[in-house]
């Protein structure tokens, strides 16, 4: 315990020193030397990977907070059953979906809220070829999720519920960093 404390102090000193050096050019003015303190413990408040998972599959109030503060490795066991009940409440006619997943299998995937990302090639939530290889800004993730929840095995079931008919963002994305459009 004591050792750890010393370690943290030593690390903080080292880090402050780095910034002191980098701020030498400020010697000739009166700016306050940054004494940056990053010490302390930080505790989980919100967690998110795939879009709209907590919002769709977890009941309102305290359960949402509980889901947000559950680490992904513990989510599957804690939430698969909850997700399956919710899926069947949303769509009592659910059999399988476009990915061929049963209710148990589909919710088993969803309950562990992590986003799969490919390290090579295009990245997309779903674009007909790529399935869950990332999430690009322009991906119509809501339609994908609606199709998987309501569309049945061939995406033709419940046609009124499988697209919200909002297919793109209200501003054009940039082709280069930082990619997101300027604020309204």
């Amino acid at each position: 315990m004591k050792t750890n404390k010393y370690k943290i102090v030593a690390m903080s000193l080292l880090f402050s020193a780095t910034f002191l050096i980098s701020c030498n050019n400020d010697d000739d003015n009166n700016s306050v030397t940054p004494t940056l303190d990053f010490s302390g413990s930080y505790v989980l408040q919100d967690q998110m990977a795939r879009p709209a998972i907590n919002t769709v599959f977890i009941g309102s109030g305290a359960p949402k907070d509980a889901f947000n503060t559950t680490i992904p490795s513990a989510m599957g066991a804690a939430y698969q059953g909850v997700f399956q009940s919710r899926l069947m409440a949303l769509n009592p006619g659910y059999t399988t979906n476009l990915l061929g997943l049963s209710a148990a299998a589909f919710t088993g995937v969803l309950a562990t809220d992590v986003l799969g990302v490919a390290k090579s090639g295009p990245t997309s939530f779903y674009n007909g070829t790529q399935v869950l290889t990332g999430r690009a800004l322009a991906d119509d993730v809501i339609d994908v999720e609606l199709i998987l929840i309501f569309g049945g095995p061939d995406a033709t079931a419940n046609p009124g519920l499988t697209s919200d008919h909002v297919n793109a963002n209200d501003k054009t994305f940039l082709t280069s960093f930082p990619y997101l459009a300027s604020a309204w």
Binding site: L90, F177, Y179
Partner: protein
């Protein structure tokens, strides 16, 4: 018959108190409307295809009038978690936290401890960027092969949330065509990090999730 059953199902969901906010905007009472509320996470290949881009947006549904006053919180760290062996436990983290008028970045590096409680990995400082002001040209920084941005941007998310709520509430049976983007004209506080893929381990795929963590 099928349709009735489904509408009934949807109504039951509505009755049981499911309030749908999307994608993750204001998803839970403890975080709604504060700096810890993650609205969306994106991970995609960069303009330079050797790079991966991570976007974590917070504090959604900011009207233009409210955006200038929205700020990052020095006690809230944004942490990108990267699992590269499929066990859903983070092997690498990238951390971002505000000090003064700058956002400081750490990693990608192995976390001190995995799980719900973290420390800032000060031994793995990777750079910083001045937080961009509302209405001004975005300020970006490039350090150690990485690019950094922090500040207000248009919310890239789009969805007819209003109609979906009506469907859940039983006052509509389907979406309109065309729909209405509930998130049109709203902003978020964005943190954008572009990282060489070579810094993310050697696996072919990774699993990614974002967390906000508050100092205790």
């Amino acid at each position: 018959m099928k349709k009735t059953k489904m509408v009934l199902g949807l109504s039951l969901v509505a009755i049981s108190g499911l309030i749908f906010m999307a994608a993750d905007h204001a998803d839970a009472p403890a975080v709604t409307g504060n700096a810890s509320d993650i609205t969306d996470v994106y991970a995609f290949q960069g303009q330079d295809t050797n790079n991966m881009v991570f976007v974590v947006n917070t504090q959604g549904l900011l009207s233009p009038g409210a955006t200038a006053a929205a700020t990052f919180n020095e006690n809230v760290m944004t942490e990108l978690n990267i699992d590269n062996n499929g066990d859903n436990v983070e092997d690498l983290v990238i951390q971002a936290i505000k000090r003064g008028d700058k956002m400081y970045f750490f990693g990608p590096t192995a976390p001190g401890t995995t799980g719900a409680t973290s420390t800032v990995k000060t031994t793995a400082a990777s750079g910083s960027v001045a937080i961009s002001a509302y209405g001004s040209t975005p300020i970006t920084a490039t350090e150690n092969g990485m690019k950094f941005f922090a500040g207000p941007r248009d919310d890239p998310f789009f969805f007819d949330l209003g109609q979906f709520k009506s469907i859940l509430g039983g006052t509509a049976t389907g979406f309109n065509n065309p729909g209405t983007d509930t998130f049109a004209g709203t902003n978020v506080l964005a943190t954008v990090i572009e990282v060489p893929k070579s810094m993310l381990g050697t696996s072919a795929t990774i699993s990614v999730w974002a967390e906000t963590k508050k100092k205790i």
